[in-house]
């Protein structure tokens, strides 16, 4: 009996919605906004997560980083805390020492810089320039589409050569051939030896794509940078060696060359991709929580709107309730009818919100270059939540309807 009341109740609800289009539209607006916000937020977070994953996938889930000090926020280089100051700055020798270990496949020191590129009269804004080692593609992905990467000799000597990213090359040279030309990187002359193409989905804030890679020694010689935040040693274990084993070996080696006694604390930090991901998950978790709280305010407001309209609806249809009771409807059946009606209303709002949220997600996906879509779970949750809101906020009006005295209700004008 109760199940057969669902299509009946839904039909009544749709009828009432059709009869009061504007009123119903305004009623469910809050639900629409709330649900679409959740959906859009979910797709943003999912998209960013997807890109982080892809980047880490490129860097390799096994790659780990050695830092002077691991902090979730950049440290002020002019006022380093003591615990950081006593730690030595990372050096190319650290990287080389680890490179020699049998467990390690790749180990190199990198520096991240922001510099302007200039050729002739063309000048770019500040772009990301890495001081790295010739095997940088093993970490970044992508490929050389013209020319070559710098040689180990150039790397060791710190020759001022540069591998230019394709987009930066286009910006500086247009159609002109750029190979062999000398450009200015942060005011210093560098000769172009190759053109590099970034992998497609690498996660970068807009406008911060990699523009150029120079040998680490050349960067060290030509530019000023912050020795705590900008330097990192990227380490990749050999195939078949687990990250933990490689990290242990690397730790021992660094302790050895830094002459640390047993019991001394490490004077460096090591973090894995998993830790970065974990950090990201914690940050987005907070972000997500805030969004959910905000959009549940919208949903609450929407729910209250639904409650108000259902109250009006119950009053308007007092006579109908009387008739239904006279025809043999029990309290429970009347209660159920109005609950189904409220849930239909909010479900409709939810469906609209999902459509809107999916649309917004699709737009965001294109604008921000995400590869992942709106997660299914968010649509499922949104649907469930809209129904729940209808049931919760419909309860008061529905119970009022169910308690009407049939004699009074039939007499109601």
């Amino acid at each position: 009996m109760r199940l057969s009341a669902i299509p009946e109740g839904a039909a009544i609800a749709l009828d009432a919605i059709r009869a009061n289009k504007l009123r119903s539209g305004l009623t469910i607006l809050g639900i629409v906004i709330g649900v679409s916000t959740v959906m859009a937020m979910a797709s943003i977070v999912q998209g960013i997560r997807g890109q982080i994953f892809e980047t880490l996938e490129i860097v390799g889930p096994t790659t780990f980083r050695v830092l002077r000090f691991f902090s979730t926020t950049p440290l002020n280089p002019d006022a380093l805390p003591r615990e950081v100051r006593i730690r030595p700055v990372l050096s190319p020798e650290d990287a080389e020492a680890m490179q020699d270990l049998p467990e390690i496949n790749y180990s190199a020191i990198w520096v991240g810089l922001f510099e302007r590129l200039a050729y002739d009269r063309t000048r770019t804004q500040l772009l990301v320039v890495y001081g790295a080692d010739p095997r940088f593609m093993e970490v970044l992905g992508g490929d050389i589409i013209e020319g070559r990467t710098f040689t180990p000799t150039e790397a060791r000597a710190g020759t001022p050569v540069v591998v230019l990213e394709r987009e930066a090359a286009d910006r500086l040279f247009g159609r002109e051939n750029s190979m062999g030309k000398v450009i200015r990187v942060g005011g210093r002359p560098f000769r172009i030896v190759g053109i590099y193409r970034e992998p497609d989905n690498i996660f970068q804030p807009p406008g911060q794509d990699i523009a150029a890679i120079v040998p680490f020694r050349a960067a060290e010689r030509n530019f000023r940078y912050d020795e705590t935040n900008s330097l990192v040693i990227l380490v990749k274990p050999r195939t078949g060696i687990s990250v933990d084993v490689a990290m242990d070996a690397a730790t021992l080696e660094l302790r050895r060359i830094r002459k640390l006694k047993p019991g001394d604390p490490n004077t460096f930090d090591m973090i894995t991709s998993d830790q970065i991901l974990g950090l990201f998950n914690r940050l987005t978790g907070v972000f997500f929580l805030v969004m959910i709280v905000l959009s549940s305010v919208a949903l609450m407001v929407g729910g209250i709107g639904v409650m108000a309209i259902m109250m009006v609806s119950v009053t308007q249809r007092t006579r109908e309730i009387g008739v239904r009771k006279a025809m043999g409807a029990t309290r429970r059946e009347i209660l159920w009818q109005f609950l189904v009606e409220a849930a239909t209303l909010t479900l409709l709002g939810g469906a609209l919100g999902i459509t809107l949220g999916l649309g917004a997600g699709e737009v965001l996906k294109n604008v921000m270059g995400f590869t992942t879509g709106v997660p299914i779970w968010s649509a499922v949750t949104a649907t469930a939540v809209s129904i729940a809101i209808g049931l919760i906020f419909g309860l008061l009006p529905a119970s009022r309807a169910s308690k009407l005295d049939p004699v009074e209700a039939l007499r109601y004008e």
Partner: protein, 230 residues
């Protein structure tokens, strides 16, 4: 035939209206038998609406007993009363009380929904009831597409669809002109001829004249009870 369908003993109903105690029914005794056609009359304030609500199981008495078709209704709770209304009583109201946005068929289906009849059976029963009142060609019409007489016939079809023990009509012609009223009375006549028990509350003597027995109330008591010679 003396098969009792309604047995009322010392039926009393009091209301608290502010500080005042209104005694709408002051001990009504009566019996109504199967296939009777009864009109309940009385001036306003005589208690006929209250009695009608009692008989229709919409209200419960303050005192006294009410037996309907062998069930003691006067002691029942809300849900049990709803079930009794669904099975035993077919209501016809003065203002028709059809659901305005539902088709004639759907209106007639309503009691069947609450009886738990589903799908095709429900539609078959409902259209059967509509053809009994001569409206098989108006199945899909909404109330506002029907004349007053047609609306009341839809309401009668709705009252009949669950094959109730009694058809309970409250001023069934109150909103109709005299020609249409006659038409409705003819329908009642036919239903009675088919064996339907009919109880009709009215204040119009010429409408009451169609009934075979007239009970008159005054001041919450039965004033007169006359049977027409067949």
């Amino acid at each position: 035939m003396t098969d009792t369908i309604i047995e009322v003993r010392n039926l009393t109903r009091e209301y608290q209206m502010g500080a005042e105690l209104v005694r709408a029914l002051r001990g009504v005794d009566m019996s109504i038998y199967r296939n009777e056609y009864v009109a309940i009359m009385g001036p306003s304030g005589s208690g006929k609406s209250t009695l009608m609500n009692m008989i229709g199981c919409l209200d419960t008495p303050t005192e006294g007993e009410y037996w309907l078709n062998g069930l003691e209704v006067s002691t029942m709770g809300d849900d049990a009363l709803a079930r009794v209304r669904n099975r035993e009583i077919g209501f016809v109201f003065q203002t028709f009380n059809l659901l305005p946005r539902a088709s004639a068929l759907h209106n007639v289906e309503l009691p069947l929904i609450y009886a738990g009849v589903s799908g095709r059976t429900r539609r078959e029963h409902a259209s059967g009831a509509l053809s009994r009142v001569g409206l098989s060609d108006r199945v899909d019409h909404r109330p506002n597409e029907l004349s007053g007489g047609q609306r009341q016939r839809v309401a009668i079809a709705r009252a009949l669809v669950n094959e109730p023990s009694i058809l309970l009509a409250d001023e069934p012609t109150g909103n109709l002109d005299s020609t249409t009223s006659e038409e409705i009375m003819t329908v009642f006549e036919e239903l009675h001829a088919q064996g339907q028990t009919i109880i009709m509350v009215t204040h119009e003597a010429d409408i009451a004249a169609h009934a075979h027995r007239v009970i008159t109330l005054r001041d919450g008591r039965v004033h007169s009870d006359t049977k027409k010679a067949a």
